[in-house]
Subunit: 434 residues, 2 copies
Amino acid sequence: MNIVTPRRPSGFPEFLPHEQAQLQGMLDTIRCVYQKYGFLPIETPAIELAEVLLAKGGGETEKEVYRFTKGDKEYALHYDLTVPLARYVAEHENDLAFPFRRYQMQKVWRAERAQKGRYREFYQCDADIIGSSSIGHDAELVALLSDTFSALEIGSYTVHINNRKLITGFIEAIGLADKSSDILHAIDKLEKIGVEAVTQILKDCGCGEDDSQQILDFVHIDGSIAEIISQLEGLNIQNDIFTEGLKDMRELTEQVQALGVSEDSYTVDLKIVRGLDYYTGTVYETIIDEHPEFGSVCSGGRYDNLADYYTKTHLPGVGVSIGLSRLFAVLKEASLLKESSVPVTIFIANFGKGSRDWALKVASILRQANISTQVELDDDKPAKQFKYADKLGVPYTLVIGEEEVKSQKVMFKNMASGEQEVLSVEDVITRLSA
Amino acid sequence: MNIVTPRRPSGFPEFLPHEQAQLQGMLDTIRCVYQKYGFLPIETPAIELAEVLLAKGGGETEKEVYRFTKGDKEYALHYDLTVPLARYVAEHENDLAFPFRRYQMQKVWRAERAQKGRYREFYQCDADIIGSSSIGHDAELVALLSDTFSALEIGSYTVHINNRKLITGFIEAIGLADKSSDILHAIDKLEKIGVEAVTQILKDCGCGEDDSQQILDFVHIDGSIAEIISQLEGLNIQNDIFTEGLKDMRELTEQVQALGVSEDSYTVDLKIVRGLDYYTGTVYETIIDEHPEFGSVCSGGRYDNLADYYTKTHLPGVGVSIGLSRLFAVLKEASLLKESSVPVTIFIANFGKGSRDWALKVASILRQANISTQVELDDDKPAKQFKYADKLGVPYTLVIGEEEVKSQKVMFKNMASGEQEVLSVEDVITRLSA
């Protein structure tokens, strides 16, 4: 028979079981927090009708969509969870309670140029609140993000918050409304390319030296949240959009505080605009403090109308998205992944046919006590059994030989220390549940 | 703007949040039991290289594969989890400990003719043990299935076990070895089309009347497990394959008993052969006792060599697969789905700005106590808030008005009974944790 070399297309990550368990642990943690905030689960099909999924036209993204024909239909794999959410909400509008809080954790696919930490298949973990313009929802997402990143236990983090109305209003107030889009795109690049390069871009799109300086001064306003807000007030800008943004920001931070979110875990950052024109108000980025080089590991913001391509109902919303696969990859590289709860806790070694029934009985008692257990069923030599247990990485082994069958006990062996002692099965359960 | 009607391709199921929560509950339950038996998690990419995934050639299945070209590569979506497992095991051979117990719960895609309860996108939940021929592993899977279906709480069930060597050896012994494949395919149809139709097929493929009767008598051997085995022994068949099958079955049932599996939950059923030629020994089917019309909701068996297309290493294995989406659909239709643990337990209604901060504080305390909580943030009128809470289906609402702010308490309302009482937040937590 011809052997086909087993291999995957590039950009499609795959993990060994202990890594998969770590990833699963992160998914479980995120889900648990999302649910605590009353977000409801949905899943949408990976495959959508191309004409529906791409109704809006994806610009740059559209080239990256996996699309194909089967029969007389053209299909496309979803490349994010926002467009499917829009389709979902429009399709099930009458069955949902608005504001609709949904979370969705699924893989998405993009034929991006393969690059380190850039995958073509990756998990996104999204939470959105659809159908309300109240700033209280924006505040809840700050609390949600803070709780989520605390629960993930991957070091200290900061949720950076801004409101695009502030910079948009400011630009209008200094008479540069016509260059607004160019200026926002320039600021969006600030973290990556630095002040000098951004100044050059601003110059190129027709901003005077003074204007550029004003804009850069504005986005660099810094301090505690109270200080930043007070500085913004001090600017005395007479512009409706700016005033609205300032009011939003004041209310948002008040409510975040009322929600008891620690001031260590969030900040106002006027430099954040998020590239997407899609966002209209609050925007979020989340930085792992010790690893700013990871970039934002969870981003999002408020948008005006989620599903305008699918329904006439006006659906404003606010949402965040964790790019989990990328986060997992950078944490792994930086050795910051939490140890997973070891799935196999107990391996039962088994010396000869005579001890098999007792070994199986012990396995069944341990499993009833919710202790993950695997028993030797191949009658391999003891040395081979221990080598296997080592490779599995189990912390404990039970050795069952003639003596143990007679006494209906087990030899409990700590694989790390090598210590062993004879225990009853009940004692093993007590030991492991302690 | 042109509105595109929001819709999905047919055969792609999608659920409302409370149904999704029920499905998620089943996934969690299955995962939990699989892990208790020491199965390790893996996931493989949805998209594989077509030449690798389809190396073996899929026969009928191949037509149902979603495949497409992007750039200079031809891709295919996985249509089961067994071929990807074979590729995975061969690719990561050196990093895995054998016998390798893995579970894998993912969606797969097949462009099947759309039909009731037949989906084009569906969840499979597989557990396999790779790299050992010991019958003990076959026995463990019976215990695994029994535990899994008990944990799912969807009524009584029976795991039907057979060993293909029994019927194959029997056919050889009565001199019909050359018709073996046809006979097995006929028996496979027995449950669906009945004795008469099968007799006709047997006749068509050249079996005499006596032969047909013998075959049908054989597969209908019935009774307790001990009785069936004793009847098989009583046949005194002199055939190596049959003898091997009988020994396997004896050992398997002994070990299943040693594992403490209730005799109510499994049986030996000589009618089961499973269509796939792929299986060589033990085969399994699982029937929900009250709903035989569902057919087998979890099937599998032992195979000789998992990954012969990808590696020269001989990898015998045994595995089972739950077609979860189909199971979910039939349970839903039969109103047998378990209520999901309601994701939103508490809705905090909020009467006016004055009470907002206390409402947010209460939400944060409840969430810290792991109680799923949502708070009204839209300042809607009370009647609208309660209507919303009703539509969400929350069992409890906390009402917070001026009085409650003053006393730093909450009005705890049972949505079903309408009863309400004033409680401290601590009392609410105690009440809900009880």
